[in-house]
Subunit: 392 residues, 2 copies
């Protein structure tokens, strides 16, 4: 049984075959690169005594982010989950409203809808892009539908054109969950600039990181202004400690924003690195007949390959979980694709298995590989070698 065989790694974690090359560390699925101006800017925060959510880096981070995103107004927040919540509340989504969301996404997407009191409606995904299927959206629309939440999964841009048309025809809002897709393009424009609002995550495993962090970008100035107040406890900007609304504390610190600014300076470099890594994976993994590789890019589209993800064919002699176990035993961290939301206790009522078969299939067979920009080419080759050995 191949799963139990750990052929190349000794007890001490030294690669036997590769021992002459170097010792390997455990290869993690994601790790940030903090070798630019991060330390300098953080040091500046501490030396100038400005570390809270007040301070110049917050504004600079927002400005840089806005500039990259076609001038959409940007608000930095504590993370990608509260970004979604703030976006929904600022658009006025709440009890009585329905929001259409893909069944295959990280739970934060649906949780944010539930926080507002709105009802999520789970849509199946496209078999090839693994993103929400526009044809399915159309069928799920009811008089209560208020918004569509496309999620650009693993960096793959959603097919926004039909979604925009559906939203236009039915007068629906679009909330793009771009947590995993900073730097991805669609029709030659950054994802996040197709909806009324879009959100991003800067957790430690994301394309750029602030440790934890998030951003909301707004098409509409009024929604942006409202969100700015909601982010700061709903406190009036002119009358101290006066609250006209129930707000939140979703502020990002100057300290984290300082790192964000340094990371934005290197964003293109990170996306290039991830795309290079994805290219290497594609080149090697195509050699096995057991895998379905990520969908190629349409004209004008660009996949930022946040995490390089592929499927193990249902009829292959080993399962996705066996492959994960084999890789782990070889010191290589990987991730399964998310569970279909409708299978988990808090979400079962929002979708029917019979209508979510593609989500189910992809969830069972999908695996994400190490994709950090600090990965070395040699490490990627080692990972591929291990996978091909296992699949042979």
């Amino acid at each position: 049984d191949k799963v139990k065989v750990i052929p190349l790694v000794s007890e001490s974690g030294v690669l036997k075959d590769y021992a002459s090359i170097r010792k390997i560390r455990r290869i993690s699925v994601a790790a940030p690169s903090l070798g630019g101006n991060e330390l300098a800017y953080v040091t500046d925060c501490i030396r100038t005594n400005w570390i809270s959510s007040q301070g110049k880096y917050v504004r600079e981070f927002e400005a840089k982010f806005s500039e990259y995103h076609d001038g959409y107004k940007a608000l930095a927040v504590s993370n990608g989950t509260v970004a979604l919540h703030l976006a929904l509340v600022a658009l006025g989504i709440g009890e009585g409203d329905e929001v259409i969301v893909p069944d295959l996404t990280f739970a934060a997407s649906i949780n944010a809808i539930l926080y507002t009191g709105a009802t999520p409606v789970l849509a199946d995904v496209d078999a090839d892009s693994w993103n929400i299927d526009p044809e399915v959206i159309e069928r799920l629309i009811t008089p209560r539908t208020k918004a569509i939440m496309p999620v650009h999964l693993y960096g793959q841009p959603c097919d926004m054109q039909p979604i925009i048309e559906i939203a236009g025809a039915h007068n629906l809002l679009i909330v793009e969950d771009a947590a995993e897709a900073l730097g991805s393009l669609y029709q030659s424009r950054p994802v996040g600039t197709f909806g009324d609002v879009a959100t991003f995550s800067f957790f430690g495993n994301k394309t750029i990181t602030t440790g934890e962090g998030g951003m909301v970008i707004f098409r509409d100035e009024a929604a942006y202004e409202r969100a700015a107040v909601l982010r700061d406890h709903g406190m009036s900007k002119t009358k101290r400690y006066w609250h006209n609304e129930v707000g939140f504390n979703y502020r990002l610190t100057n300290l984290q924003a300082a790192i964000g600014v340094a990371q934005m300076e290197r964003m293109d470099e990170f996306v290039d690195a991830k795309r290079r890594i994805a290219g290497l994976y594609n080149e090697e993994l195509t050699k096995s007949a057991h895998f379905v590789l990520p969908l190629g890019e349409e004209v004008g589209s660009k996949n930022s390959y946040w995490l390089y993800t592929f499927l193990v064919k249902a009829d292959s002699p080993f399962s996705r979980d066996e492959l994960i176990a084999f890789l782990a035993a070889n010191g290589i961290e990987s991730r399964p694709v998310f569970y279909p939301l409708h299978e988990m206790p808090p979400y079962t009522q929002y979708g029917k298995a019979s209508e979510l078969s593609r989500s189910i299939a992809i969830s069972k067979t999908g695996i994400s590989l190490p994709s950090s920009p600090i990965l070395e080419k040699e490490e990627v080759k080692f990972i591929c070698e291990r996978i091909l050995y296992y699949a042979a």
Copy 2:
């Protein structure tokens, strides 16, 4: 009219009388002191490449906090508001429950109750301590009452003994909002160790800061364990991406926790400084008959004087707001006491003005003075001199 007279400060912000001493900066109501190990620990995070909510400083910060708080289990979170929300959810408080909360507090206290779907019930405060009045609590209890939320305002410990007795008699939970009272003692023990759960804030103006940040401490191990899962998206600790509950992202970064650890090392020093400053204010301001100074300490109690706060008597020749304006014109930042919650649009339905008269009176007349541990004695004296000049 004294308010319009700006006698001592020139256009350039140079104190005329004091010009020979030094230029003054604008004196802010709070500013952190980051001159200890903050930079060293943050640098360590970046150099070791661990800045997210994973990393050793988060655990160390929690351990130090727990140790200070009689071994209550501690969870670091993104800020003091989400700390309250997490505490309430972990205790199972939600729709159909009533929570008794003082009318005189920062809005985050009541907002957190509203997030859970529970109903806040506003209690009047004690005329002298400005904290929730235990006798009033008793009168507000109904069969739906689930918890009491005492808030230790401005560092003044609440009178916990009667609250504990009431809670015991009626089988109620106690949630201490200690956002403003780290380092305060009651019956010789730290506030936060009298309830089922307690929360703290580490915003830039707090006794210790992490920029933004918060902590929840639990008496009960099971509530702590539940909260740890809820803090991390409700994700199972053993089955990756599996969610048994709707959770949140309330994680604190390693970066912020690193600062928290350095701040904890100096917490006693900060509290000592704040108490010295309060002593100076008391000594000087007692010279005017127009003020009501903060309540003295009972045996075993210690006020950490987060912000030194006093009242302008209702019959004095000037109002609190006039004093604030005069101080601002002299380069001295101050803060009004919070508005009574029941006066603001989102909260009017949770209390009646006729039953909240002490809250109303204190709110109108209370003012908080600069209380940062980095204030110089000379600055405190200057502030007092200005106030006494104005009040003369």
